[in-house]
């Protein structure tokens, strides 16, 4: 039996939350649905850890779904990069769900909560599926599972603020456009190659060589995924969706959904199209690089002028996605490493910060920065968590943000791209401004008269502090994450270079 489970771990990773989701809906009011969902998330996390351990050394697990051999059947193909992303996604779910109990209880009516957890598990299923599969069309299917459930999750914020409905609708439209683009792109490369398995696609694309159809396919996929990951200027859905969604959703989605989309981009660009695909290299340099740089500045600047804490963090996310895309646009080993390590680092940091925002909302009833004056005294632990997370966002030493920034700048300097290195640093100065605005308000301004605010409950504080702890731990001793990122970058570069050289 254990052997059977072990052999089927890749399938279980996705099937477990998928099957659990409808069960969750049937569990009725009360805490049962929540407890069940949490249990499932923990199991999923355990599975992904064992997958990560199995692939950390550089091994590749290939799992044939239903025993159908690829390229005809669907293949789950797990290397260190997938495993890394799986771990981020399931780990965040395992931390957010305990947090969600109190936070969701305050934001969503009791009779709706089972459905909320169902949607949450479906979203988890989708994200895990995207990360694990080795089949291009399967990516699309899972991407839609995760997106559709996210639309529902965002809309469930409407009990707190009706604007969640328009935010969700907006997201729905944009997300669907993105998905359509993506599937058109896949259709085009299918037209050329007649296959959907990624590894198979890679070899056949090389055989086929460059063509106009291939280019169109690339562009459609690039734009489609760009919409999903909120690449500037395709980010317009993101601020409202993050602001009005229930906080637990924001914390989870901000930490995982965009990361998974970045993963899809990495996978398609480097495994499917190949590291040395010239048209792609041109596009990255001429389109992605400037776009990433503009995102870093424009979104940070906008973040400075937000009054709502969640919205500020949302804009900061767009800027941080700029960093990830920038690392990708360098097209070097160090650059890719920076991107991959930042997937983890930003997930941890932003997850913690959104959780803190949720604590503020629960206790103070608002996330408006101007009404959080003097909150450092009333909620010392929550506010301290914000400061620690904020430092990581800025990229100060001893936090994970520093590690990402280090590799990013190193990548820029290796290429001799001076101005880019300075721009990266300059944009993190903007982060100081928007983080410190909150710090000043929380600690140095007197609290408004007649307001009582209590420290957030432990069930919310502990997950937030675990994330903060992780962001410090992996900032002090980053060998594990950087080694994993370095090997993942090797996988991406290695597989494709081998093919193009043949």
């Amino acid at each position: 039996m254990p052997g059977l489970i072990e052999a089927n771990l890749p399938a279980l990773q996705v099937v477990l939350p998928l099957v659990a989701a409808p069960i969750c809906a049937m569990l009725g009011k009360g805490s049962r649905a929540w407890a069940f969902a949490t249990l499932v998330a923990f199991l999923a996390f355990a599975i992904s850890i064992s997958l990560f351990i199995a692939t950390y050394g550089g091994q590749v697990i290939s799992y044939e779904m239903g025993g159908w051999a690829p390229p005809l059947g669907i293949e789950y193909r797990i290397d260190v990069l997938n495993a890394f992303v799986l771990m981020i996604v399931s780990g965040m779910a395992a931390l957010v769900l305990p947090y969600a109990h109190r936070s969701v209880a305050a934001e969503i009516p009791a009779e709706r909560q089972p459905f909320f957890y169902t949607a949450f598990l479906l979203c988890l299923t989708g994200l895990l599926g995207v990360a694990i599969t080795g089949d291009a069309f399967n990516v699309f299917v899972f991407l839609e599972i995760s997106s559709l459930s996210t639309y529902a999750l965002v809309a469930s914020g409407s009990w707190r603020n009706k604007r969640a409905l328009t935010a969700a609708y907006n997201y729905l439209i944009m997300g669907t456009v993105g998905a359509t683009f993506f599937v058109i792109g896949i259709g085009m490369i299918y037209m050329i190659t007649g296959t959907l398995n990624m590894a198979d696609l890679a070899t056949r694309i090389i055989e086929h060589g460059d063509s106009r159809t291939l280019r169109m396919g690339f562009v459609f996929i690039f734009i489609g995924v760009g919409l999903k990951l909120a690449m500037f200027p395709l980010h317009l859905w993101l601020p409202n969706a993050y602001t009005f969604a229930p906080t637990a959703v924001t914390a989870f989605v901000a930490a995982t959904a965009t990361k998974v989309a970045v993963y899809v981009l990495l996978r398609f660009m480097f495994t499917v199209f190949g590291f040395d695909y010239e048209f792609q290299a041109e596009t990255l340099k001429n389109v992605l690089l400037p776009v990433a740089l503009v995102a870093m500045f424009a979104a940070s600047l906008v973040a400075i002028f937000q009054d709502d804490l969640k919205r500020m963090l949302a804009y900061s996310s767009i800027a941080q996605i700029g960093y990830m895309l920038l690392g990708l646009a360098f097209l070097t080993h160090t650059g890719l490493m920076a991107t991959i390590v930042h997937l983890f680092n930003h997930a941890v940091t932003k997850g913690a910060l959104f959780m803190v925002a949720g604590c503020f909302i629960l206790s103070a009833g608002t996330s408006s920065i101007s009404s959080l004056r003097g909150i450092g005294r009333d909620m010392p632990w929550t506010t301290a968590a914000f400061v620690a997370g904020g430092m990581s966002l800025i990229g100060l030493p001893l936090t994970v943000g520093f590690i990402s920034k280090w590799y990013l700048v190193q990548a820029a300097l290796e290429l001799g791209w001076w101005p880019v290195a300075l721009l990266i640093m300059a944009s993190s100065l903007l982060a100081i401004v928007y983080v410190w605005r909150v710090v000043e308000a929380a600690y140095l301004k007197p609290a408004p008269e007649g307001v009582t605010r209590r420290e957030a409950p432990l069930s919310m504080l502990i997950p937030a502090w675990i994330l903060v702890g992780l962001s410090i731990w992996f900032g002090v001793s980053a060998t594990l994450t950087t080694t994993a990122a370095s090997r993942a970058a090797d996988v991406l570069i290695g597989s494709s270079q081998m093919l193009w050289e043949e």
Partner: protein, 501 residues
């Protein structure tokens, strides 16, 4: 106790103190007692290390590997040992002084104050002991963050604005320039270790050296090289013990110490003088010395005047590095100790004047001398030391810097140093001069009748304030006579690369 353990102990005492202070927050006497005991213990451990280092030991400890190849490592060499001794020794004095000041001035949130203070000392020591550039950078940033709450301590709009400038400039320079320089160095040399004779020679195109040096020189914002000096006057909104220890000793000295360290162990003095890369820095530092002195002349606020004086004096040390010869390094390092002793006295006097007489402006000090004789005598002694007259410590460091300028053939810099001394006389000695000799101003009809009655008695600050002031003032004199040993010690700073084994 091995040297390595002593090193860790020296770093951990202030760190543990933080938590002890936090726990004893409700009992002020115990809390303040803890910080004094901790400062004495730290100093004892540092002295124990100093002894080993003078005997030739070079203890080294590696804590963790942050990223592959990048470790947090502490190694002691003579320069760092000097800085550590100065910072931890003056911590004792300041710890005593802050009790008098903080209670005398009835400041709020004293527990937070002492916690941040201990953290700042811990990071200053970590900077002093850091064995590679990476470690140094990390604790450089920790020091910035830990002093922010101290600068913003009063929580008034002015304090907030000052703290904002403080954080803004220090962060901007360190992230925008220093971090880029650090990563660049790592890319070039593949190591960050502080090595005698530098690590860059042969790894960098000489044409780029001035640019890299510029990134370092302006990136080390704590050295307050113009035009990135504005944070120092802005930080004067902090309570005076902060200005005394941090903005005359720990923080600013961490800046120039980093400068010295980078000059000797990253670039290498020989490499700098061979390429002439630091030629421009000589001029910038010289200009900084004079301009800051002139600005100091115009300041009426006592602490602002002292702050600009610090900006000017810090550039002496930068100048020492830029002159790129052994005398420059010795003069610069010696100035760390001499200026620290003098400037901390001046700041503590300014604080004592504030506590006892509630005066903050130079123009209000007329006739105050006879009322606070001890304070003003100490002020005079410290001023003379800063000016560089014998028999006070400051004379020697200025002497060696002059020698360095002469060795480097920079005649103009000799003139600059001399001119600066004259300016020092004008802006520093004027203060005790007014206090002792100017007739007290007619009391303007004060709204409070009681304050109008002039009293002839002595109105000194509390004893907790006065004793530290006397100690450091005496220190200024002692240093003059103790210079022989100090010079011998500083000669052991390795300038040339070690012979290949």
């Amino acid at each position: 106790m091995t040297d390595a353990n002593a090193l860790l102990l020296a770093l951990s005492i202030p760190t543990v103190t933080m938590f002890l202070i936090a726990m004893s927050g409700s009992r002020p006497n115990i809390r303040d007692g803890i910080s004094i005991v901790a400062s004495i213990c730290t100093f004892a451990v540092v002295l124990r290390l100093l002894e080993s280092v003078m005997a030739g030991a070079r203890p080294s400890v590696t804590l963790v590997e942050v990223m592959p190849g990048l470790t947090i490592n502490f190694s002691i060499e003579p320069l760092g040992m000097l800085f550590a001794t100065v910072a931890s020794g003056l911590w004792i004095v300041t710890a005593i002084y802050s009790i008098g000041y903080m209670r005398g001035a009835q400041e709020k949130k004293q527990t937070r104050f002492y916690i941040c203070f201990a953290l700042a000392i811990a990071s200053a020591l970590a900077i002093a002991f850091s064995g590679n550039l990476f470690t140094l950078f990390i604790f450089y940033e920790v020091l910035t963050i830990s002093t922010y709450p101290l600068v913003a301590h009063k929580e008034t709009p002015e304090a907030r604005a000052g703290a904002r400038v403080y954080l803004g400039i220090l962060m901007t320079t360190s992230i925008l320039f220093l971090l880029v320089a650090v990563i660049w160095t790592w890319n070039l040399a593949g190591t960050m270790e502080f090595r005698a004779g530098g690590i860059l020679e042969g790894n960098i195109d000489p044409a780029y050296v001035p640019f890299l040096l510029a990134l370092f020189a302006f990136g080390i914002g704590k050295a307050a090289l113009m035009p990135f000096h504005r944070w120092l006057p802005a930080a004067m909104v902090a309570p005076t013990p902060v200005s005394a220890l941090l903005h005359a000793v720990a923080v600013v000295k961490a800046g120039v110490f980093t400068m010295l360290k980078v000059g000797t162990y990253i670039f290498g003095v020989g490499f700098l003088s061979k390429t002439g890369a630091s030629e421009w820095l000589v001029w910038v530092a010289g200009a900084s010395i004079l301009i800051a002195s002139i600005i100091a002349l115009t300041k009426d606020d006592l602490k602002a005047r002292l702050a600009y004086s610090t900006v000017s004096q810090l550039s002496y040390i930068t100048l020492g590095v830029a002159l790129a010869n052994q005398m420059g390094v010795i003069g610069g390092s010696m100035h760390i100790a001499m200026h620290a002793m003098g400037k901390i006295t001046l700041f503590m006097c300014a604080g004592a004047i504030y506590v006892a007489a509630h005066k903050t402006k130079v123009s209000e000090l007329d006739g105050l001398g006879p009322k606070m004789p001890v304070t003003f005598i100490c002020f005079t002694i410290a001023s003379l030391s800063i000016i560089g007259l014998p028999p006070f410590g400051g004379a020697w460091s200025k002497w060696y810097l002059l020698l360095a300028a002469a060795n480097a053939g920079q005649v103009v810099m000799i003139v600059v140093l001399m001119l600066s001394s004259l300016l020092n006389v004008a802006y520093l000695l004027a203060i005790p001069g007014r206090a002792f000799f100017a007739p007290p101003k007619k009391q303007v009809a004060h709204s409070l009748g009681a304050a109008a009655s002039p009293s002839d008695g002595i109105e000194e600050a509390p004893l907790f304030c006065l004793v530290p002031i006397c100690l450091t003032a005496i220190g200024c004199i002692v240093l003059f006579f103790a210079v022989g040993g100090l010079y011998e010690y500083l000669l052991s700073i390795p300038i040339l690369p070690e012979a290949a084994p």
